[in-house]
Structure formats: C-alpha cells, structure tokens
C-alpha cells in the first residue's frame, strides 16, 4: 500500500474482532509515530495504555461512571447500560492520550497540534499493519471521575482515547468535499 492509498483508505474502526493486540506493537508504532514528526519537545505528551481485561474494565467503569450516576443515567435501564459496557469491554486495547498544558495559548496550541499529528501517524502506521482505531472524544465520558481514573495531571489536558482492534471488514468511506471547493488564492499585499 503506498502512502496516498494508505491515507485515502484508512477508516475509523468501530467494530473490532477478538484478535488480541500486542502491547509491544503499540509501543513500536507509537515510537515510529513520534519519529515521523519534527523533533519536538518529547515532554509535550504522554499516553496511558489499557490492554488487559482488568485494565479495560477499570477504564470502561470510569468512562461510564458519570453516565450511570447522572439523573439521565438513572433512567437508563441497567440492561442497556450493560450492553453499552460490553461494547467497550470487547475492544482489545485503548491508548489514552494527554498533552501538556503550557503557560499560554500558543504553547498549548503547539503542543496539542503536535500530539494530534503524532496520533494521525499512529493511526496510519496501525492501518498499514491491519490494526484499526477509533479516536473517541465523546463528551459523555469527559468528566472529573474519568479524568481522575486515567490519572490526568493538573498540567495536562485530555486529547482523546484511541480504541484499538483488528477488524474483519473495513466500513465504506463517506464522500469528502474536493479541495478545489475550499481553495482561495491570496492576491493582495498584506503585512
């Protein structure tokens, strides 16, 4: 698969099969992903990994804690909550990504931008090996209990969870707007 095909064909994977994901592979792909970036401050991001049944259960519990305790959550039948839980528990591995918060907006944006670039590299490198991912930022999981559960520090912000798994069949792609329709040429003499 060449680079343009890889970029074009990568899909978000929402349904994985039961094939286990090796932690060594995840570490290898993360190191490569970092080395596809300009040399940046390596201290600007951190990942927390869940890849054992116990760790996954802990993660899912803290993801759904808010939901099951909220007023709305209390209205959700226990059975439905279990279905929801199982959907996440069945995912073989999760990479939780946080970026360092700096003293000003520019530092924050730069740190955030560079970790997002790294995460895209990671998704592409995974796809090259048949490993699918889904970048998850659902607001329902973003609450105090969750941040505490994943060990988010005061000087960090949560960037996303990448759910990892091998897949049987990639979903169909959905159409994108051609770049030509989002393209303007600057004619003036600013500055």
């Amino acid at each position: 698969m060449n680079l343009s095909e890889l970029i074009r064909e990568r899909r978000s994977i929402r349904k994985s099969n039961s094939r286990p994901v090796e932690q060594e592979l995840v570490v290898e792909l993360l190191s490569s992903a970092a080395r596809l970036q300009p040399p940046i401050d390596a201290g600007s991001w951190r990942v927390v990994y869940a890849g054992t049944p116990e760790a996954n259960k802990r993660l899912v519990d803290c993801m759904l804690a808010q939901m099951s305790q909220s007023k709305l959550g209390k209205l959700i039948p226990g059975k439905l909550l279990d279905v929801f839980k199982k959907r996440f528990t069945d995912i073989p591995a999760h990479v939780i990504v946080m970026s360092t918060v700096g003293p000003d907006r520019l530092t924050n944006d730069r740190n955030y931008a560079s970790v997002c670039g790294m995460m895209q590299n990671f998704q592409l490198l995974g796809w090259e090996r048949g490993l699918g991912m889904l970048w998850d930022t659902e607001s329902i999981i973003q609450h105090e209990g969750f941040f505490k559960g994943i060990g988010l520090r005061k000087d960090e912000r949560f960037v996303g969870i990448l759910h990892l798994g091998y897949y049987d069949k990639a979903p169909r792609s959905r159409k994108r707007t051609p770049a030509e329709q989002k393209w303007t040429v600057f004619q003036g003499h600013a500055t």
Partner: protein, 161 residues
C-alpha cells in the same frame, strides 16, 4: 513508498530551493490529505494559498518561503467541537506533510501569536467566523531531505492504566 519507510526522515531541517510551487500539485495532495479523520465529517478546514515568488510576502510574520498555505478553520460555538475540529485539521496537515515529503516538498507547519490577531488574519481574507489554525511554509527541498540522520534518543512516555 510505504509510510514506515519515512520514519526518521521527517525530522531533517528544511532548506527551500528557489523554485515555484505548482498549485495543481498542492490540490492533488490536498485531495488525499482531506481523508483525515474528522468528527461528524464537519471537514472544518479551508485553504488560502499565497505564492511568494517575488519575495517579501509575510515579512516579519513568517520565515521566507517560496509559498505559504494558510490553513483556516471554521470556529464552532461549542468549545468541545472547536477542539475536535482543531485536532482534525492537525491530522489533515500531517497527511499533507507526509505526502509532500514524497514529492521532495518540504513543509514547515508553524503556529505564531499573530495568527490570533483577528484584524491581521482578516487582511488575508480570513472571515470573522474563522481562525488561522496554522501557516504552512512550503517549497522544494534538496534530495538530502531523504537522508536518515542518527535517530535521536526518544523517551516515549508510556504508562499502564
């Protein structure tokens, strides 16, 4: 070329050659880059291309480069969506950097304080409902960009839950 073959090459410093950057190639590469993940398929990006063949453009704001690509982002009212959109734009830019590298084009993705200045951004045609996410400095580079320097020690911060 496979992506894994590029590992280690992307960290070389970029020195531009004095050669024009064709718009058609930019569009061709961007039409792949836009296959980046983006929540709700909002495709929050837009591009303003500025050719700098005559030099002097963006002086005092950016380093000299044969061309600039302003990556502009629609600003959602919701903070959570704004963050997701910025992330999506960064994924798209990363795709573009990788693709450009394959064509001997160097891309410096830059973020600077002036980009937050609304009136400054307006002079480039950025609308009130938008912001500059990044400015890409673009140009052809010599082939030594493809050399793989000694891999710097990388301390991956990887912990178990």
């Amino acid at each position: 070329m496979k992506l894994s073959d590029l590992v280690g090459e992307m960290s070389n410093p970029i020195h531009f050659l004095n050669r024009p950057v064709p718009q058609e190639l930019m569009l061709e590469l961007l039409n792949y880059a836009i296959w980046a993940p983006n929540d709700g398929l909002r495709e929050p990006w837009r591009f303003i291309f500025a050719d700098n063949q005559n030099g002097g453009l963006m002086q005092g704001l950016q380093e000299p480069a044969p061309a600039y690509l302003l990556v502009v982002m629609r600003e959602e009212a919701d903070r959570h969506k704004r963050e997701e959109d910025f992330a999506a734009v960064c994924c798209m830019i990363q795709n573009f950097r990788l693709l450009a590298h394959e064509h001997d084009l160097g891309v410096r993705c830059t973020l600077h304080d002036w980009m937050y200045d609304r009136s400054r951004a307006e002079t480039f045609g950025v609308l009130g409902s938008e912001r500059i996410a990044a400015v890409l400095e673009l140009g052809y580079v010599t082939a030594h960009l493809k050399e793989k320097p000694e891999a710097p020690e990388l301390q991956l911060r990887f912990e178990l839950l």
